[in-house]
Symmetry: C2
Subunit: 410 residues, 2 copies
């Protein structure tokens, strides 16, 4: 059965498993009889510049598919580009659809987060009003886990597994000296605390986990923060605190803005600096208690550490890509694949195409009832939710001592 030509793109911040979704789209489309499978280079923005490739020239063998699954970051390149409203600029839509028609595209897949789903929403809407037969499907991806309607998003489980793993290691390292020390670990998440909450996964029979966890969902109170540390110092020498980069004060300002805004600190060039949240709190703690404190930023390793992925996550990422193809080949359009959790123990999840209008541009935060009332920890409900998502591993393909990636990037 022939389904015509297919095009797929990746957009927004990369994850460790976004290429597993690309592999899922490619393999499923190929196996189900797609004619040509194109890849947009640098998403819709690159496509507008006529940057696209015939993916089968790049993914030639089953080994390539396995390597692609294990390659971090967006293989096709990414973009951060928001389509204008059709009422403001119809020309861009006319151009895109003309290009798609020239390539005889029948199915359009976009792998991404909130902003990328906005692209699917707008293109499927324009397709509808312009009478196009092209199907537009979204494939969810974001380490932030903040997409609406879906139980979770591919990319989150692996980031959570990396965070849990390195938190255990950092805690072992942090407690090695017989002296007082306060470590503050900064974790990604401007508005949603899903990743920072994952630091609690380190807690178990071989690790005490972090002492305090601060998410952006709750207002951060500097005085309360210092009071809690003061109490902890009576009990233990080594204190570990996980903070989201996006924690905010009562006045709505980010904590990290305190550095530049309140005190007009300047960097060496005289520019105001927007320092890290952990660095700010670490300096605060040292000033208050006179003890050693270290700020640790987990940085982009959270989203690109493909050497330590969750097998559940990378498999689901692949399935989401495959299911998007299957749904599109059935004629579905204007939808994103979502995950519905059936049971937690044993973990079971199904996928379903879901109306993009109820997903695009909506941010899903950690439920307040999963955060302790005092705002300094997460509840067992979060733990039960996140634990299944980090299960099992996918071994990297090691070559000469290092993980191997798909190398013929377009």
């Amino acid at each position: 059965m022939k389904h015509g030509n297919v095009i797929v793109g990746q957009s927004g911040g990369p994850t460790s498993v976004i290429n597993s979704s690309l592999a899922g789209v490619f393999k499923t489309a190929r196996d189900r009889g797609a004619n040509k499978i194109y890849g947009m280079v640098n998403g819709i923005q690159g496509f507008l510049d006529k940057k696209y490739v015939d993916l089968s020239e790049h993914i030639q063998t089953d080994l390539h598919i396995e390597l692609l699954k294990r390659t971090p970051s967006s293989y096709l390149g990414s973009c951060r580009f928001k389509l204008p409203d059709v009422t403001d600029n119809e020309e861009i839509y006319i151009k895109i659809f003309k290009m798609l028609d020239e390539l005889e595209i029948k199915h359009f897949f976009y792998i991404g987060g909130n902003d990328s789903m906005d692209t699917i929403q707008k293109l499927s809407y324009y397709g509808k009003i312009s009478g196009s037969q092209i199907c537009f499907m979204g494939v969810p991806k974001t380490i932030d886990n903040d997409l609406a309607e879906t139980d979770h998003t591919p990319g989150y489980g692996s980031a959570a597994k990396f965070i849990g793993t390195v938190m255990k290691e950092i805690i072992q390292d942090a407690t090695v000296y017989d002296r007082e020390n306060i470590h503050i670990v900064e974790i990604m998440g401007r508005n949603a605390g899903w990743l920072t909450a994952a630091s609690v996964l380190s807690k178990g029979e071989d690790c005490g986990g972090p002492d305090l966890i601060y998410l952006p969902e709750k207002t951060f109170d500097t005085d309360d923060f210092l009071t809690r540390i003061s109490e902890l110092r009576k009990e233990k020498q080594s204190i570990i605190i996980a903070v989201s980069e996006g924690i905010k004060l009562k006045n709505g300002k980010y904590v990290c803005e305190l550095i530049s805004k309140q005190t007009q600190a300047k960097d060496c060039f005289g520019h105001a600096t927007l320092g890290g949240t952990a660095q700010f709190l670490s300096t605060l703690v040292t000033r208050e208690f006179g003890c050693k404190s270290k700020a640790i930023e987990l940085n982009i390793l959270q989203r690109c550490s493909s050497h330590m992925v969750s097998r559940v996550d990378i498999t689901e990422a692949f399935v989401a890509g495959g299911h998007a193809v299957e749904a599109s080949f059935r004629g579905e359009t204007g939808k994103m694949i979502i995950f519905n959790r059936i049971t937690n123990n044993p973990y079971q999840c199904t996928t379903e195409p879901f109306d993009i209008n109820k997903i695009a541009n909506i941010e899903k935060k950690v439920p307040l009832e999963w955060i302790t009332e005092n705002g300094t920890y997460v509840s067992p409900e979060f733990h039960a939710y996140a634990r299944p998502l980090i299960q099992a591993e996918l071994s990297p393909i090691m070559v000469d001592g290092l993980p191997s990636h798909l190398y013929n990037r377009p």
Copy 2:
């Protein structure tokens, strides 16, 4: 055959495989008929406070030994404590030897780097002049790879493997957008560039590796740095630079001191800040070229990421511990186990006890002939030296999605 009682301690900064050396000491001593095997808690400093444990109460099974090998950071805790010269303070030596005699210790093992070998040197010297029969042996450990006389040190290979792995991942992530970006990755090493040099291991058929590599062994010239970036910008959009935290200017100052010293930048509390080297250079680059630049610190993950260790390294760490016991049981004292490389391809290395006086307090740097003349890269000789040390893996013991560690830390 009974060899009396044994005591072992860990000192200095931890590594991912320092506990493999502890496991090597413990298992070899036990298997060869040691009576009691004590562990100093927090090194010689803790021992002076009577903090020690009977290790067999903590390491009870072979599974414990396997978990211990995979547990990052110093299981026994660590210290940074330099013994005074015996001429300045003989009392401390009298106290230590009295305590050792009370515990009927015949063999003393200390796992550590430069400073720890100073402890072995001083104790073995005092043992000699005071007529003690106790044997003192050093077991090498440091991610910095800066111990004299030995081809390399346990701990380095795993840190190098982690750096090579995440550099590949960071490079994939950094090149994802179709826009100019300069990433500056800061790697540990105040005076020796072994770890920063390991960033070159990322270079291969699936990765271009870093564009520039700066080690502390060569003087850093800010103008030349900017000129080279300016040249690179003509060829490529995404530039990746690896810098050692310890790179210095012609005047002998650390680059990171530029922030605090030359411009008197203040943090939010009015204190001079000692910012990171990468952060400084990143700000410099943005100011000079007006393009996006990101500073990434690999941080303590370099020394504690036991989820990604080199099998060669962790095995050698174990062997070094075991060989120290074997040598001590033969009556050797005042020595450290060193590694002698026989061949590179296939890699073969032997161990040998070596005079501690030629090792303690000496820092081994990257040979200048392994650094390109312009000081911006390392030579193939370095690559050939380091590659065998990162080979193969030791899988973590995964429990419920995360690596498991030995949990009953004393």
